[in-house]
Symmetry: none
Subunit: 229 residues, 2 copies
DNA sequence: AACGTTTATTCACATAATATTTATAAAATT
DNA sequence: AATTTTATAAATATTATGTGAATAAACGTT
């Protein structure tokens, strides 16, 4: 997991405890002690989720939430002290995703964090089809399936993604670095030989299947999904 | 758009999330936490549509629906918890326009709201079947029943729901997070390994039953109900 | 055409990521 | 209270992925 959390709370103890706890759960955590710092850190740290205390000096949680919403839709969980005047409606209008009342049980908070992240990640795209067809090959990201001559072929995710990317940009050459960027992600740290190996494995699966297309090496440059005509 | 919705539900969390969601869709939303408050708010707020939970303290959804019908013909969508005794006939007699079972998918609810509003403006009413058939398998949400080769198989609710969802979106891969969201509900707090275990139990019941379809694992992604052809 | 240089391919292995299974505990239902 | 269903946690099994080294191919230069 490489999920980044941002804790914004003026109480250093709470920050510390949350940091320790969530780091132990495998998250990456940074803390800010007031609203202004929180917003700044949000911009540079780019967390996946924000835990936001409401009662804070300088800039309160409401204000921080509002400003975050102006630049991002990342999930925000508001933290409110018991007895504090707490306007849920306002929170919802500002776009908070969930609430928890201090003092809270860490397990519950943790479960809520997970649930909110899940909800955020679970958006199912209905609209786009994400299928590439050419001649006797068909690649579907939605089904995560490769079909050759109508028959489904077992294929690992990364290989499918690589093939999909190349095929959906057919005849165009990509360098290994570009492919790492596009298929593996911009934050991927690794050797560009990795691409070669995946290409090799793809070729094993695809060899002799068609003379209308192939995975071509462009020497000194990279690879392309080559089609005739 | 300036369509007003009234949400009547004793669970504040559900209210909140519905409010947030539908406001984001451009509706105007108000919430009531029990039946009496619901009827009062109906009179002064004059919503275009009511989302009405059945199980509530003070006054239940049936009663609220009846009272609304005495003064208005505005559309009402009943919300019922799974497993709850749910009398569709009674609902229809009371004049409800549609039903949805908790936990529901927000997109689906949203679609139903839209549909009911459209119907209301066009003065037509339809009801849907909620059955999936494919080859020798038949899954009915209405009857909560799984039939294989025409024979009913005992199956727990959650398993049926999961199977139903996957089968009604066959060949499409869903991540565990998406499945938790769609089948367990957006407010579910829990682990995604849960999905695995349910899949396992489904497989026990379904194995060797057909070679036309199966519950497939898509490595690194999730699961799908796979069909040939 | 032969050489050295660069670049690509292949292979085998290690590691990391993920899925399955099992057992058990907790909830819910009857 | 007993039974069934559901959720959790841990152990095990499986698969994908990445790495580095060895090999092969392409290229440019002479």
């Amino acid at each position: 997991m490489d999920t980044k959390l941002l804790v914004v709370d003026d109480d250093p103890n709470i920050c510390e405890i949350l940091k320790l706890y969530f780091e132990n759960e495998g998250y990456n955590v940074k803390c800010a002690n007031d609203g202004i710092e929180g917003i700044n850190l949000f911009k540079i740290y780019e967390p996946s989720l924000v835990l936001l205390d409401i009662m804070m000096p300088k800039k309160d949680g409401w204000q921080v939430c509002r400003e975050i919403r102006e630049i991002s839709s990342k999930p925000v969980i508001m933290i409110t002290a018991k007895g504090e005047v707490f306007d849920k409606v306002l929170g919802l209008e500002l776009g908070a995703d969930d609430f928890i009342v201090k003092p809270f049980d860490m397990k519950e908070l943790s479960a809520r964090v997970k649930a909110v992240l899940r909800r955020y990640n679970a958006q199912v795209s209905v609209s786009d089809e994400e299928v590439v067809k050419y001649e006797n090959i068909e690649i579907s990201l939605q089904k995560y399936e490769l079909k050759i001559n109508g028959k489904a072929i077992d294929i690992p995710p990364k290989e499918l993604e690589l093939l999909y990317f190349l095929a959906s940009n057919c005849n165009r050459v990509f360098t290994r670095d570009q492919l790492l960027d596009k298929v593996w992600g911009f934050d991927y740290l690794g050797d560009s030989r990795t691409v070669d190996v995946h290409v090799k494995r793809l070729r094993e699966k695809l060899e002799g299947v068609s003379d209308k297309w192939s995975l071509k090496t462009v020497w000194g440059v990279g690879y392309k999904f080559d089609t005739v005509g």
